[in-house]
């Protein structure tokens, strides 16, 4: 499969990541495509198990050598990564592309000091002495806003507070000036004020390095202000893709409506959910026939039975806004305008 190199900085074409297990084939990512330019931010939203983390690990090549079956193409800065050797992808990891993981307490090695872990990340890609690397680490810690970085550099992860750890994690990811930065639920474990600080920090740094940023989250609120584009994933597939405005003001997929409806807002009681999504995420082994979302979809009965018989295609509704839904476009618009939107505004 050799298609011409794209112009976009990052492009995924029909990416599939499947895991054979004793219980059957798990299709974690099933035909995903998108593009991302330098300096832009993409938000990927979905429930746990929707395939959003698997995708980003796939980009970094962390499934290579494992049990995963990967097909499709990943183009990064003109290079195809799915077919590239594991060793080559490794040399890109950390330098060209880096990742900020969720839950930094478990993502950082408990036995090594924070400084040592940043030093290690730096020295993989830079032939410098330990002393130089250490100085760099202190710099990085300072830049992500850790006070007294020259003292904290020798602390262990468990001695940091949650927010500090997340900052250290970011410092580690940014230590080699990556051109692509993937942040996986970077703020989930943090309280709201710290969340805001961390998100600000990430956008500042993105601007400074002019890197492409992917933020993965199950919380639309997190990506609302940062993202240029947003991709909604469900059951390993993209169900809606568009600009942040498209998604927030003109969403067309019932799942996106559910996500929007369950967004916590300052003017609402935190436990209150406006539009609950009933049921549980789909099994990735026995995917429901037809539309994967149909068992949970309130509007499934309005599709004349297509919902359970046909897999809907991802189709463009208008300039760059893609939706995967059997409902006719007009009906989607009218449900949003007449049923959902008023309900959300009334509260």
């Amino acid at each position: 499969m050799t298609s011409p190199a794209p112009e976009a900085f990052l492009e995924l074409r029909d990416l599939r990541i499947h895991f054979p297990t004793e219980d059957g084939l798990v299709k974690s990512v099933d035909g995903l495509s998108y593009k991302l330019e330098r300096g832009k931010t993409l938000g990927i939203v979905g429930e746990s198990g929707s395939g959003k983390s698997v995708t980003s690990l796939g980009i970094l090549g962390l499934h290579k050598g494992g049990r995963a079956k990967i097909s499709g193409e990943i183009w990064l800065d003109g290079e195809e990564l799915v077919g590239a050797s594991a060793d080559h992808v490794r040399t890109l990891r950390g330098k060209k592309m880096a990742m900020i993981f969720q839950d930094p307490l478990s993502a950082m090695h408990p036995y090594y000091s924070v400084g040592a872990q940043i030093v290690e990340a730096y020295r993989i890609h830079h032939k410098v002495s330990k002393a130089v690397a250490r100085k760099h680490a202190i710099d990085m810690l300072g830049r992500v806003g850790i006070p007294q970085p020259d003292r904290r550099v020798d602390d262990f992860p468990h001695q940091f507070s949650g927010g500090m750890r997340q900052r250290a994690m970011i410092a580690m990811a940014l230590s080699c000036d990556p051109e692509l930065l993937i942040a996986d639920e970077p703020t989930t474990a943090l309280d709201v004020t710290v969340q805001a600080q961390i998100l600000d920090l990430m956008t500042d740094l993105q601007r400074e390095f002019n890197s492409a940023l992917i933020i993965i989250t199950h919380d639309l609120g997190v990506v609302a202000e940062l993202s240029d584009d947003i991709l909604v994933m469900y059951g390993g597939k993209c169900v809606e893709y568009g600009s942040a405005e498209d998604i927030f003001y003109r969403p067309e997929h019932p799942y996106t409506w559910g996500l929007l409806g369950s967004m916590p807002r300052l003017d609402r009681e935190p436990t209150e959910r406006l539009l609950p999504i009933k049921g549980t995420p789909p099994s990735l082994i026995n995917v429901p026939s037809g539309c994967a979302f149909n068992p949970r979809c309130v509007y499934a009965d309005r599709t004349e039975g297509k919902s359970t018989s046909q897999v809907p295609e991802l189709l463009e509704t208008e300039g760059g806004h893609l939706v995967r839904c059997h409902l006719p476009r007009t009906e989607r618009r009218s449900i949003w305008d007449n049923e959902i939107k008023p309900m959300m505004e009334s509260t």
Binding site: S48, G51, P281, L284, I285
Partner: protein
């Protein structure tokens, strides 16, 4: 999100499978584990053999011939004490051969010894499971000084050189106590010692599980509805502890079989003429050069039994806790 996290098994690749009941998933996994199934069948077979070894009507032993305690002096070479004939006198009448010196039938003695091995192992495991679960739940649930006391107690128990203690205590036993005498008392005491000294292993597991369960929502929910400690422990905690307890009990049984065999090997097991596998091996020490079958037969019996339980236990653990695989 309304998605219930506990209904989703999230594996290494972020895969999730349908929220079937844990028991059914475990059963499906177990069925696929060939080694565990073989282990289960061997365990079942051995258990049946042990149960029907001597009853009813003399049981399997009577069916196949010799009684375990009857000597056959005419089948022994008086000058060497070894059984006459190749391979320790193995024949149709004596499929496992004969004991040196007195010519007792090894097939019958192995069967008879199986009863002791399994009886002691099952009862001792039961005892340590009961004591260990109770202590573990108490320590994990109440925390604070209760936890401190029980944890220290476990440390003390683990600091005792177990085997030495067991031997010394069994050796210092009176002839008659608690209305029991002879092998009945002996078995009771061995069960007690093995069970009593292995409870910390169960308790540690249960305590850890209880600690994590205590933080879970359904416990808070029950408490907010006004449930008492007893209700929470027995109706909310214990059902969730059954799986790990079952796994570690299954894995404790082979350990206990080995423990009983070691005690018998060191001469503090059940009294002769009652056969026991460890006891047979002690005797074999004197004759293993001239009658190696006398060492191999009980040795293999222990090995096969312990291996079968281990296979089953490993399989159960893998089925119930896929991460431990």
């Amino acid at each position: 999100m309304e998605a219930k996290p506990e209904a989703v098994l999230e594996g290494a690749g972020g895969k999730a499978i349908e929220g079937r009941s844990l028991g059914r998933i475990a059963w499906m996994r177990l069925k696929r584990d060939k080694a565990a199934i073989i282990g289960a069948f061997v365990v079942l077979f051995l258990t049946l053999v042990a149960i029907f070894a001597e009853r009813p009507f003399g049981g399997l032993i009577a069916l196949f011939g010799d009684s375990p305690n009857i000597p056959n002096n005419d089948l022994i070479d008086p000058l060497t004490s070894a059984p006459i004939g190749a391979w320790g006198g193995i024949s149709l009448e004596h499929p496992f051969g004969l004991e040196p010196v007195n010519g007792r039938d090894l097939f019958a003695r192995i069967l008879s010894g199986a009863q002791i091995s399994l009886l002691v192992a099952f009862l001792a495991t039961l005892l340590s499971v009961v004591v260990g679960s109770l202590m573990g739940v108490l320590a994990g649930f109440f925390g604070g000084w209760v936890d401190t006391v029980i944890s220290r107690l476990m440390d003390v128990f683990l600091a005792f050189p177990l085997l030495l203690f067991a031997i010394a205590i069994v050796g210092a036993l009176p002839d008659r106590a608690l209305g029991l005498s002879g092998n009945g008392l002996r078995i009771a005491v061995i069960v007690f010692i093995i069970g009593f000294f292995s409870w910390p292993y169960i308790a540690r597991i249960v305590r850890g599980q209880t600690l994590s369960l205590r933080e879970r929502e359904f416990v808070d929910a029950a408490r907010s509805l006004g449930a008492g400690n007893g209700y929470i422990i027995f109706r909310e905690m214990l059902p969730n502890l059954v799986a790990p307890i079952l796994v570690y009990a299954t894995l404790l049984i082979p350990t206990n079989i080995l423990f009983e065999a070691a005690l018998s090997f060191l001469g503090v097991g059940v009294n002769e003429p009652q056969a026991s596998w460890g006891g047979m091996l002690t005797r074999a020490v004197d004759y293993y050069q001239i009658a190696p079958h006398f060492m191999i037969v009980p040795g293999l019996a222990i090995f096969i039994t312990v291996m079968a339980f281990n296979l089953l236990g490993d399989g159960l653990r893998d089925a119930l806790d896929p991460r431990a695989r």
